[in-house]
């Protein structure tokens, strides 16, 4: 079947609800204010997203309290959250951790945690560096011995507010995945100063901590790879949202800003730069939609689709944010104007879940384009 690259009616409805909520509760001034308060994000908004809109349970099966939708819908929410640079732990909890949990075999503990995370009662995160890319070797920074975990992982997405940690660990027989309660003794989650002030990162240290194993050596590596891939594919949609805000706000600004007796938007040099951004957004959106569709349908082409989407959308969002700052002139350089929130998000997103060149290196061999010897 041909992949649907458009937004379905249901997806458009979902987008409208998320956008309404964020327009009301997450305007740029509010985001800036929250970030100044110390980077803990907006727990109340997160709670509303989870409980009223069900944004944390979209692709979770019905029997676990989810909505039985797919990554396509998850990606639509990510796009809107990107448009508002909303400071909520969606990527860490509803995408990365939830994907990992979904990939594991059903079991009492996994099901219970997944249901709680989907319901928004608990927030989870996947304990890997946010810069992790598909195609990497399984991380062994954390070691597991007889159900006890020790080790440190730096720069984990949105770790500080997480109630439960999904931890990849090197066990005696190979890769394993554990669920660790953040309140367990021996767990330290240090919020570090994040470059992207709307997405906190933390260093996680585990010292002889009790965990519950949810995947063993037969499955753990695949689960982690799939979760990181899904994260990268959904992040591409977030980047589309970021880029779209940057283009829209720059267009609006240039229309109302007058210099030399003319609207800045009437200068051809600037019009052409905006037209180029629009072109980039058109191709980025097509790539992001294809990736979301392939992930949703577990398509054979998903690894290629994600590599294409992530390497392209990362560049497009970063370029849009850089142009946004430049074309806003002096005001774009101020703390007061939200452009910097988007620049920081876009630049961090370019590194998150694999940089464009890292993705090129993974994607190439999949399409019979191997690196030079």
């Amino acid at each position: 079947m041909s992949p649907n690259l458009l937004y379905s009616t249901e997806e458009q409805d979902l987008r409208a609800s998320v956008r309404d909520l964020l327009t009301d509760r997450c305007p740029p001034e509010r985001v800036l204010e929250l970030c100044e308060e110390g980077g803990t994000g907006d727990p109340a908004l997160w709670h509303t997203l989870a409980t009223q809109l069900g944004a944390t349970s979209l692709n979770v099966p019905d029997e676990l309290g989810g909505q039985g939708a797919s990554v396509r819908e998850v990606a639509v929410v990510a796009e809107e959250l990107g448009r508002f640079v909303a400071p909520v732990p969606f990527l860490g909890s509803a995408v990365l951790a939830t994907s990992a949990l979904l990939g594991c075999r059903a079991g009492e503990h996994r099901d219970a945690v997944l249901a709680e995370v989907a319901a928004g009662n608990r927030t989870a995160t996947l304990v890997v560096p946010l810069s992790s890319c598909v195609g990497g070797s399984f991380p062994t920074a954390v070691r597991a011995r007889e159900g006890r975990l020790s080790g440190s992982v730096r720069t984990v997405a949105e770790g500080a507010g997480a109630d439960c940690l999904i931890v990849p660990a090197g066990g005696a027989e190979g890769p394993e995945l554990y669920v660790v309660d953040a309140t367990e003794s021996g767990v330290t989650v240090d919020a570090v100063t994040s470059f992207d002030i709307t997405r906190p990162v933390s260093d996680v240290d585990l010292e002889d901590v009790a965990g519950v194993r949810i995947a063993g050596p037969d499955l753990a590596a695949t689960v982690l790879e799939d979760a990181v891939r899904t994260g990268a594919g959904v992040l591409a949609s977030e980047q589309v949202g970021v880029a779209e805000w940057c283009l829209d706000s720059t267009v609006e600004y240039l229309k109302q800003r007058y210099q030399f007796g003319r609207a800045l938007a009437s200068y051809q040099a600037l019009k052409h730069r905006l037209a180029d951004l629009w072109y980039e957004l058109v191709v980025a959106r097509a790539a992001a939609r294809y990736a979301a569709d392939q992930l949703a349908t577990a398509g054979d082409d998903a690894p290629v689709a994600v590599g294409v989407a992530q390497s392209l959308c990362a560049r497009v969002a970063r370029h849009a944010a850089e142009e946004c700052v430049q074309l806003h002139g002096g005001i774009g350089m101020t703390w007061e104007h939200p452009a910097h929130l988007y620049l920081k998000r876009a630049k961090a997103d370019e590194i998150a879940l694999g940089s464009p060149s890292a993705h090129h290196g993974v994607l190439g061999p999949l399409v019979d384009l191997h690196p030079a010897p």
Binding site: S2, L6, A263, S311, L312, P356, D368, L369, A372
Partner: protein
């Protein structure tokens, strides 16, 4: 006229399929002369099914044409070599259909479609490129026709063409957009001289056409006198549809050519060129997906403005990719196959050698609307930015600086 075909045939895929099979049963492609077969296909309404009955179509949805084409191809039927008559099919025909008299439609469309008569387009001039509405070729009324004098340029197929669609100035005293008329010009008229225009590739894909008192009967005018610009808009809109609309497989264009070159481990392959190759390959794939998405929007009845992005991206990628390929080839990239003047019947952007492809790609951001004009269109019509200041709209054409 006899009863309408639509009364007897369902205009859905199944109806067209059976109609095509019936046609094949009574016109065996193996034993029928090619020209005769194509004329019969036209008369059966299977040429372009979305055209009206009697003009090669059945008034069926355009999206059903592939059903007919697939049946005919499977039966080994000859086609009308669309790549050889692209201007006729893509530009002249829709304009004749929209603005032609009954007599013009009946006379021109059949031999146009079968390829018996090749068409070319006399629009651009040395002084009227992006600003097409400033054309200066003059058509002066003489009795029951027009005498036309001027110079046209970038005319592909002019040396093979029987007919041309021509935009000429009939009223120099009117503002530029209001003083033009649109004609069908007989390319065999003694006042028409075609000279090859050699381009940077060495070949002459295009021509210059010199018109010296060329005669056009008034019966070959399309649309009203002074209405030429409106008629030309129809032609140009169809040109954009023709450029933007094709679905492509992955690596279907220049990216596939360059990817294959990379796979042969050329001399210039290194880590830096690899990253460039992958970035371009990714963008080409995303542009392909954007084209597919555009097609889905059209099919859903909500065409977006994304079409103008397609050509912009296509031009940029062809140029970047073909440039990269030359570097990959190293010393091979220092050679060129042949600079001698050739006159190709069709053009293939991904044909010949890497050097040719690099040079030919330079035209992609110029022909059919420059990338700069496209950016203006996107900025103004899609993003709603203010239009460029215009000093030429209300001034008589003859008073404009040139």
């Amino acid at each position: 006229m006899s009863e309408s075909v639509a009364d007897t045939v369902e205009l859905d895929a199944e109806g067209l399929r059976s109609r095509t099979r019936e046609f094949l049963a009574s016109n065996d492609p193996a034993t029928t002369d090619r020209g005769e077969f194509l004329r019969a296909r036209f008369d059966a309404g299977l040429a372009w099914v979305h055209y009206p009955e009697g003009l090669g179509g059945l008034g069926a949805p355009r999206a059903l044409q592939p059903v007919v084409d697939a049946e005919l191809e499977a039966a080994g039927a000859p086609d009308n070599e669309p790549s050889r008559i692209g201007i006729g099919l893509g530009m002249a025909a829709p304009t004749i259909l929209a603005f032609g008299t009954e007599e013009q439609k009946q006379g021109f469309l059949r031999p146009l479609w079968t390829g018996e008569e090749v068409w070319c387009q006399l629009f651009s001039e040395p002084g009227a490129g992006s600003d097409l509405a400033s054309v200066g070729t003059r058509a002066e009324r003489k009795g029951d026709g027009w005498r036309v004098t001027g110079q046209k340029v970038w005319t592909s197929s002019a040396h093979n063409a029987r007919w041309a669609i021509l935009l000429a100035r009939t009223d120099p005293d009117a503002p530029k957009h209001k003083g033009m008329s649109y004609f069908v010009c007989d390319m065999t008229d003694p006042g028409v001289e075609v000279r090859p225009l050699r381009q940077i590739t060495g070949e002459a894909e295009f021509n210059e056409v010199f018109l010296s008192d060329a005669w056009i009967p008034d019966s070959n005018r399309l649309g009203e006198v002074g209405e030429g610009w409106r008629v030309a808009q129809t032609t140009l809109m169809n040109e954009r549809v023709a450029i933007g609309g094709r679905p492509m497989p992955r690596e279907g264009g220049m990216s596939g050519v360059v990817a294959d070159t990379w796979r042969k481990r050329p001399e210039g392959a290194d880590a830096a060129t690899y990253d460039r190759l992958m970035a371009l390959w990714v963008e080409a794939e995303a542009l392909r997906l954007a084209g597919k998405r555009l097609g889905q929007q059209l099919a859903a009845g909500s065409p977006g403005p994304e079409g103008s992005a397609m050509k912009l991206g296509f031009a940029r990628l062809s140029q970047e990719l073909s440039g990269l390929e030359l570097e990959l080839l190293g010393q091979e990239g220092l050679r060129y196959d042949d600079w001698s003047l050739r006159r190709p019947e069709t053009v293939n952007f991904t044909g010949r050698t890497a050097g040719y492809r690099y040079l030919r790609a330079k035209g992609n951001s110029i022909e059919g609307g420059t990338s700069e004009v496209l950016r203006n269109i996107i900025a103004e019509r899609v993003l709603g930015l203010p239009a460029e200041a215009r000093a030429d709209k209300d001034v008589p054409w003859k008073d404009l600086p040139r």
